[in-house]
Subunit: 332 residues, 2 copies
């Protein structure tokens, strides 16, 4: 038995969460039983969807965490004890936001970390990258020559999706982000043709200027004004992937709204929602496809890294406020 | 050359149209030239989409009618002169809202009126019925065992769609309409299992009660509250056909809105818009499928009929306000 820290939920946030809604508590970590492993976590994934699970909601997809209990997030770590997985193996699992996790062997996945850094399995090779891959190959497949618009383009999914869209044949990739620094990153580091500052620009006009022939595909992470603008600029038979609604996550009931859905009638648009959990079986094919790009450096994986378990609440408040470029991670 | 009446647009309505926005004018009808026909119209189709073409909009799909010019709506009539189509033939065309139309032969379609009344080619065998057929077989195909919800269920499309959904295998068909009389019609005449009064009921609750296991498919003609409620009650991977937005047609820019699109993310829903003009090539297969049902009386085709060209403005104001059960028609 060892003693270690975990992040607990203290109060259910009303609106935007504050760091004081969480507590970093010292807890006793039991020894692993038969068929279990003890994992020393080295990287924690900090994701907006966790916000949905802080509410006392009835959602089957995002069930609530218990008050005064730990938060489960994705993590990467090293097996340090147990009889079910070799000690020393690098694994990923969904019992993170703590320094040590005890898990059934079936709840960890052993990683091949040859040639890629282990935390890549939380970003480009984790649910983040898989989300982009599922969107662009199944939910609303990108087609050769497409003009694609991606919101939250400097975020964890967006930073992968823009590059992946081009690898899969898109002719023009437009991204939006908040503030000039991120917009510059889109074009200079992440392969976007055009970056739009959603805070500063007349969005519909900027989008129409960036896509004079219209959009074929919009990958939506935000809803609201950006979805409204994209619906206006989409071509007939255009497609929209509904991936998230980060601007609405802080409401008591998460909200994704639009006033422009008549454009879908007029232009015969298709809008499709997705949950990455439906695509876990496609992770191996995606990793096989993308591994060479990662090794040859043609696939950039930006990260925003904070240090230590005590930084988790700050990292989480930050990711909801757009403080990150690329994946938000905490290194332990 | 003869003299006859046509319906002209006098003022572009601001909000809900009034009968005084139109003028029934006496005009000279030219003799048909070579390759043309003169049609004496017998039935005029009165459709909500015409409202979109009264605005001075830039829409390519719904281009504006000229002020002081005639309105083009669908019609059925009889060829009375011309060398291109046999005199006496019953035809349909899109230059209605007038007593006589002169058309190129390529702009009329000769009808087989054997066994069905001619005006059926404006309703169940016209764009109205074809809309329902395209929705249920292509846009968002109905599957055996589905629970289906249709708004504006007593309207022109809805009155066909409910019956067609069941013919195509739906297990349970729920419709909404305004007022107790229409709701009764849904169940007693139009084959709906449940009728919901959208004006009187708590919509989301009524829908959840009517579909305790959730909806597989929602055919939306209205947007707003009914779309919000349906999104709440749809099952995972459920489907929404976006067919119209009659509640928003009177706005300067036609509006279809929802605040519940996060349900599409959470439940991986698909929403698809449609324009019936994309499906005209499928009309023959649909007519062949549905003709026996019409002949054996198992397909009910309700109509609301007004008499005479002077009734057209009233009929149009009425169809936008829900005065019709089934197809709104004017008989000349």
């Amino acid at each position: 038995m060892i003693t270690a820290h975990e992040v607990q939920l203290v109060t259910r946030p009303d609106g935007a969460p504050r760091t004081t809604d969480f507590r970093v508590a010292e807890v006793r970590v039991p020894d692993p039983g038969p068929g279990q492993v003890l994992v020393r976590n080295t990287w924690l994934s900090i994701d907006p969807y966790i916000r949905l699970m802080l509410n006392d909601s009835k959602s089957a997809v995002f069930p609530p965490f218990a008050l005064n209990g730990p938060i489960d997030g994705a993590a990467v770590g090293e097996v340090v004890a147990g009889d079910a997985v070799p000690v020393g193996a690098t694994v990923t699992h969904f019992r993170g936001w703590r320094e040590y996790s005890v898990l059934d062997a079936g709840d960890v996945r052993v990683l091949d970390v040859d040639g890629v850094p282990p935390q890549a399995h939380l970003s480009v090779f984790g649910t983040t990258g898989l989300t982009a891959y599922a969107v662009l190959t199944d939910v609303t497949p990108v087609r050769p020559g497409d003009t694609v618009f991606i919101s939250a383009a400097a975020g964890a999914v967006g930073s992968v999706a823009g590059q992946l869209a081009r690898k899969l044949g898109a002719a023009r990739v437009i991204g939006s982000a908040g503030g000039p620094a991120k917009v510059r990153t889109l074009v200079e580091d992440l392969g976007y043709d055009v970056g739009i500052d959603y805070r500063a620009d007349d969005l519909a006009r900027a989008l129409a200027d960036a896509a004079p022939d219209g959009l074929d595909l919009y990958v939506d992470h935000v809803g609201g004004d950006q979805l409204d603008a994209a619906l206006t600029v989409l071509k007939p038979r255009g497609r929209v992937a509904l991936v998230g609604a980060i601007t609405g996550y802080n409401e008591a009931t998460p909200t994704l709204s639009t006033r422009n859905l008549f454009a879908a009638v007029e232009k015969e648009l298709t809008l499709r929602g997705m949950q990455v959990t439906s695509y876990f079986d496609r992770l191996p094919e995606y990793v096989e496809l993308a591994s060479p790009w990662l090794r040859d450096g043609s696939f950039r994986v930006p990260e925003t890294v904070l240090e230590g378990i005590h930084a988790v609440p700050e990292a989480f408040v930050g990711v909801l406020g757009g403080a990150n470029t690329g994946k938000m991670l905490v290194r332990l």
